[in-house]
Symmetry: C2
Subunit: 210 residues, 2 copies
């Protein structure tokens, strides 16, 4: 199931300004290998969000080969810090080469291992946490990450509308994870939640009150 | 043309928490009179945006009978200021009664007349400008409003995907206005633009650089 009508997605995509050759190369690599990345529409929106919130410290749960981190690094100043996590050391090596090529490697740290465990071992709070790990882990990620937002911070889950699988009777652990994180966020009186239906849908969580 | 698949819009809507009875009554009134309002999905997203950016001064170009202003007032503190504009004095009277009933009238000013003229006559800059006037006026609104954002501010246009009319050969002045404002924003090197495809689509504009 498409989230957005394909002709509209094409219209939105054609309006995007030119992007860095390294981002384009990563998009080509993702296409060739069938590797899931957030793509340029989500990248554009997500980096705008980082800019709008004045994010200085960003945590990524599930970084793949560094595509989303590069969108963040592009808009943040040299005083910003981005912490990446991914289970695959090859992804880390590829990402670090790309970060060096773009000149943003000093502001990005990339850890290999289980994202939620690495997150638990990383001290401090965050302005922006972007979660794109296995979907059955989303409820645990919500419970771990939402309390670690700084004032004015934002927690974002990718694939929160999950191609509409939750509307088609799919009862896999991943689909149940997506359903549960949506219920958790929208049912949490401490959370102001919204969906941004770009590509596969984003769940955006901010704290109510100051 | 739908922007988002209707089943997905229903899923998103069902997750929304309960809202104020005055908002519900306004939604009923909009349905009965065929009056266009942003609806609860855009309201939820827009008020989250106001919260995220810490908006203190908001300008609305085209306020209808006050539905969107009420979403803003709900999340902003009593030190915030919302300036509404609409061409219809009946809308102002209805809106002001609703603002009083919710207890937010002191923080909202409502001017009747031409929105762009009223905007030109209102001094100062804004943290958030929300534009929902006639679509053929959108390019002029962009040129007038974008330079009047405070640092970290955001300019939002409703109906920026315009039911896909621009993909169906519609050459009305309104459709050309939507096409042109999208080209202006995405083509402006000073602007970081994105589309948020909720309901009829939002165009979100923030300044690049500090």
């Amino acid at each position: 199931m498409h989230i957005v009508t394909p002709a509209i997605t094409s219209y939105m995509t054609e309006l995007l300004p030119q992007r860095h050759p390294v981002l384009l190369r990563m998009e080509e690599r993702a296409r060739e290998n069938g590797f899931p990345i957030i793509g340029p529409l989500v990248g554009t929106w997500l980096s705008q969000l980082a800019r709008l919130t004045g994010a200085r410290r960003i945590m990524e749960l599930g970084s793949g080969f560094g595509y989303s981190a590069l969108w963040f690094a592009d808009v943040l100043g040299s005083d910003a810090e981005i912490i990446c996590t991914d289970g695959d050391a090859d992804n880390r090596r590829y990402a670090e080469d790309a970060f060096s090529e773009v000149g943003v490697r000093p502001r990005i740290t990339f850890h290999t291992g289980d994202a939620l465990r690495l997150f638990a071992d990383t001290p401090g709070d965050f302005d922006l946490i972007f979660c794109d790990i296995d979907k059955h882990e989303y409820p645990d990620a919500y419970r771990a990450a939402f309390p670690r937002l700084r004032a004015g911070g934002v927690l974002v889950f990718d694939n929160a509308l999950w191609s509409g699988r939750m509307l088609e009777g799919d009862e896999s652990a991943d689909t149940r994870g997506v359903e549960e994180v949506n219920r958790l966020a929208f049912g949490d009186a401490a959370c102001h939640a919204s969906h941004v239906p770009i590509r596969d849908g984003l769940l955006v969580c901010t704290a109510r009150g100051e």
